[in-house]
């Protein structure tokens, strides 16, 4: 009579080896691309994956590392080795989606001591309107709403 331990070990060897699938665009677990709500708190939970992979600058711009920069690195050229290390900007739509995946806490401005990103939290000389169609400020810095010419003259960065 075989012992239970031997039985389990035999069973384990018979099973096909579990291949740990690389996490790609095709197999993102379903719970990660949804806005999740916490039943106990009754509020939205921020998507942890987004927090891990992206960074939000105080001006509303999201940045991320180049996806797949470690893939087949040895067969790619010098330029790619260099540029793949860049942290890239997101498009407007991506930024909006990512904002929706966050809670208001993460959309607030953050100020840290010795922040290496401190120079990039403010945008300079942007001509696009500072308010959306509902009159809300698009970029984060709170200011008095005034006409375009005056604001561009006295508040070039926002």
């Amino acid at each position: 009579m075989l012992t239970k331990a031997v039985m389990t070990s035999l069973c384990a060897t018979r099973q096909a080896p579990v291949n740990v699938a690389a996490r790609g665009i095709a197999n993102i677990p379903a719970h990660e691309y949804h806005i999740r709500f916490d039943q106990r708190v009754g509020r939205k939970r921020p998507a942890q994956d987004v927090l891990d992979r992206f960074k939000r600058l105080n001006n509303g711009m999201w940045i991320h590392a180049h996806p797949g920069r470690h893939k087949l690195k040895y067969m790619k050229d010098e330029t790619w080795q260099k540029t793949s290390l860049y942290y890239e900007t997101c498009t407007k739509e991506q930024c909006e989606i990512l904002d929706k995946l966050m809670t208001p806490y993460w959309l607030r401005q953050k100020h840290y001591p010795n922040d290496p990103y401190s120079a990039y939290h403010v945008r300079h000389n942007i001509n696009s309107p500072r308010v959306d169609d509902r009159g809300n400020f698009v970029r984060e810095r709170k200011k008095i709403l005034m006409d375009d010419i005056t604001s561009q003259r006295f508040f070039p960065d926002c």
Partner: protein
């Protein structure tokens, strides 16, 4: 919505006879399908209530280089070539060289043999080679008297600053030109006639208002009797050392000798630096009947500390000239760039240059060298550590500051 929920929410009095069909929210599904722009008030452009009066100014593009289609087959040399006009000699006829005795066949053979065996020695100092091509190359005649004009050197003019003899365009340090040079003028008229010597800095005019008024005249001695020393002449403008300002490169300084039979009265004012600017071509034009150029020499100088001390002794400041580079062309800034951009480089491109300079200065001040501090041997001693820990852009910045961009953070501030 179920019937039970409907019953719970709506009092009986207001209930409709049939259960109303209420859809599940379809907006999020459309947004998931078409993206967040699907329900913008206008899908094709954003309307903003506050900014109706804004006028987009047309983008000003830099002027392009225009190529004339008729000429585009020509080479650059052909395009740049000036039309050939025969240059005008404004001076004297070329002096006839004394022809030495004809060489015999034997002498020729001997010379040829020597030259073949690399034994033929020619003393350069004994040769009187008057080659004007150097002057043409440096455009000395063009900038003194106008285009297409030249004259021959017919009178021997020797100018030397102690040991430094002036030839055709040799380079002297500015400190060696502080005191006036010794000038020897050959006598050609058997005691008749006069010489007038000009010393002109062709590139010395640094005055914005007098930009086209002429050159800086350093020294004028007129009416030197033929065969006499230069002290016998009248000094119209006293000697001032050439002042090649900082950053203006090499200046051409020419000595021009004029020959005239009658004494000439040059009314030149050289009291201040600004008054020393005179146009030689205009001056020559006004005295054309009297003066004839007979000899020219020139040398080059560049900035030196002696220039600064001279300017300070005149009660002036030493100007610093610097090349003004065109700012780099950059695309219009987008709030959200369409294609992914490296965020640090993209945002740096549009940062205020003053703020960037301020940041650099702060970094410099925080790293000011003490006397007993030893610089690390390597650009980044914790390279491996930093490579793992820091984001690549930050690490690249550190490497740049210690490596390629070292000068930006460590060079002296002007």
């Amino acid at each position: 919505m179920s019937a039970a929920q409907y019953a719970r929410l709506v009092p009986k009095k207001y209930r409709s006879r049939t259960l109303p069909k209420i859809d599940r929210p379809w907006r999020p599904r459309v947004i998931a399908w078409a993206g967040p722009a699907a329900f913008y008030p206008n899908r094709f452009y954003e309307i903003d209530k506050w900014y109706k009066a804004r006028i987009d100014k047309p983008e000003k593009l830099p002027e392009m280089h225009i190529i004339d289609p008729a000429d585009h087959m020509k080479s650059l040399n052909e395009l740049m070539k000036k039309p050939e006009i025969e240059p005008i000699n404004i001076g004297f006829k070329k002096r006839e060289e004394k022809v030495k005795a004809e060489k015999s066949e034997q002498d020729r053979a001997e010379l040829e043999r020597k030259s073949r065996h690399m034994q033929l020695r020619i003393d350069i100092d004994l040769l009187s080679v008057e080659n004007l091509s150097v002057y043409r190359h440096f455009q000395v005649f063009d900038h003194l008297f106008g285009d297409n004009v030249f004259f021959e050197n017919v009178q021997r003019l020797e100018v030397n600053y102690s040991d430094n003899v002036i030839h055709n365009g040799n380079i002297l340090t500015a400190s060696s030109t502080v005191t006036r040079p010794e000038v020897t003028i050959e006598s050609v008229g058997n005691g008749k006639g006069f010489n007038t010597l000009f010393m002109v800095n062709l590139d010395g005019n640094g005055f914005e208002e007098k930009k086209n008024n002429g050159e800086m005249v350093q020294w004028v001695v007129s009416n030197i009797p033929d065969g006499e020393s230069i002290e016998k002449g009248t000094e119209v403008i006293d000697y001032l050392q050439p002042l090649p300002f900082y950053g203006t490169g090499y200046h051409r300084v020419a000595f021009v000798l004029f020959r005239h039979s009658q004494p000439v009265d040059l009314k030149l004012d050289g009291s201040t630096l600004e008054n020393r600017i005179h146009s030689i071509s205009e001056l020559y034009k006004s005295h054309e009947n009297l003066l004839t150029p007979s000899a020219i020499r020139f040398f080059q100088t560049s900035y030196d500390n002696s220039v600064k001390t001279k300017l300070h002794s005149l009660g002036l400041k030493s100007p610093l000239y610097d090349y003004e580079y065109r700012p780099a062309l950059k695309p219009d800034q987008r709030e959200f760039p369409e294609k992914p951009q490296p965020f640090d480089l993209y945002l740096d491109m549009y940062r205020d240059s003053k703020e960037v300079e301020k940041e650099i200065l702060e970094k410099r001040l925080s790293e000011i060298k003490l006397d007993n501090v030893e610089e690390p041997k390597w650009i980044d001693p914790d390279y491996v550590e930093n490579k793992k820990k820091l984001p690549a852009w930050l690490h690249a910045k550190i490497l740049e500051r210690k490596g390629v961009g070292h000068g930006k953070y460590h060079n002296d501030v002007q």
